[in-house]
């Protein structure tokens, strides 16, 4: 394990990253994703392309959610008055 680590740290080229590192990262990513299909959290290999596909979809969904929420926030902000803003400020500090 340590030899692999020292070897990869010496190699600076982008294409010299070991497969294991990439697999680890993909696994990390997979853990973050909302687990809809796999309830039992498959311990075997997860398909990298599927993980990436779901990641892209998930990021797009999150972005869309943030856009919608900011839209609502802007509408709420224009209707609320400064008293409520002070109230929220006191609540959150």
């Amino acid at each position: 394990m340590s030899s692999r680590r020292s070897r990869s740290s010496r190699q600076t080229g982008a294409s010299m990253i070991s497969e294991d590192q990439i697999n680890d990262l993909v696994l990390q990513l997979h853990r973050l994703l909302p687990e809809l299909g796999n309830n039992n959290r498959r311990s075997g290999k997860v398909s990298a392309s599927k993980v990436l596909q779901e990641t892209c979809t998930y990021i797009r969904n999150l972005n869309k959610e943030v856009d919608d929420l900011s839209e609502r926030l802007s509408q709420l902000l224009e209707s609320t008055d400064s008293a409520q803003a002070a109230l929220i400020r006191s609540l959150l500090m």
Partner: protein
């Protein structure tokens, strides 16, 4: 504990529940986080803790409130200055302004440790001075070098042109193509290497989740409160 303190209930309750759930998930697989090489610095548990802690929540919410107040102040001043702008168009612009303010607050909370946060903060400055985009070089994945020396019939050794193209690893198999798509989604990672994109994506997803949670609770707070403060 949570019962005596009434005010920041939404954020506290949801965040502690999520922190507990995520902690159990990350605890069940400690080996992979330890197996990360030195070049990929953040382990799984660390990035989880970064975006799930209550301190981070409160930090981000405070910044968000300040940013939103600035947006409001900015928009109201423009309203008084130019009263001719119709409401629906201004609303869309204000929605975008809110999104940008929220993104900026999020990027600041990242403390500049990640690429996407730096890209978000840098974009705001670059946008004003942006000129033409650089023409993109089209990279053909196939490597074709055809050199044909024809005989004397065509008039003295005409060589067909050699087309040497760059072997772009990202455009070969499907997986690498998806990774480059992912890189375009995360701000600032369009031309990064594969592990960098993956790491930035993990951090970006967690930051976005926190942003969604914070904005949801804020919307709840604002829309649910009708009576004036006592």
């Amino acid at each position: 504990m949570a019962d005596t303190e009434q005010p920041p209930t939404n954020l506290n309750r949801s965040s502690t529940a999520l922190v507990r759930r995520k902690k159990s998930l990350s605890a069940s697989s400690p080996s992979s986080s330890r197996g990360n090489a030195a070049s990929v610095s953040t382990g799984d548990g660390e990035s989880h803790a970064r975006w799930r802690s209550e301190k981070q929540h409160r930090n981000y919410s405070a910044k968000l409130i300040q940013a939103l107040k600035q947006v409001r102040r900015g928009s109201s001043s423009t309203f008084s200055a130019a009263a001719t702008s119709p409401p629906p168009m201004a609303a869309q612009k204000r929605g975008k302004a809110v999104r940008e303010a929220a993104d900026r607050a999020l990027a600041v909370s990242a403390r500049g440790r990640t690429l996407w946060s730096r890209a978000i903060l840098a974009n705001r400055i670059k946008l004003k001075f942006r000129k033409h985009k650089r023409p993109r070089r089209t990279v053909i994945p196939a490597v074709t070098t055809v050199v044909a020396v024809t005989g004397a019939s065509s008039g003295g050794g005409r060589k067909r042109r050699v087309s040497v193209v760059r072997l772009n690893k990202k455009s070969l198999p499907t997986v690498n193509r998806k990774i480059s798509v992912l890189g375009r989604l995360v701000p600032g990672c369009k031309k990064e290497s594969v592990p960098v994109i993956l790491e930035e994506a993990t951090d970006y997803i967690q930051a976005l989740e926190m942003q969604v949670r914070a904005m949801k609770s804020l919307v709840e707070l604002l829309s649910g409160s009708a009576p004036p403060p006592i």
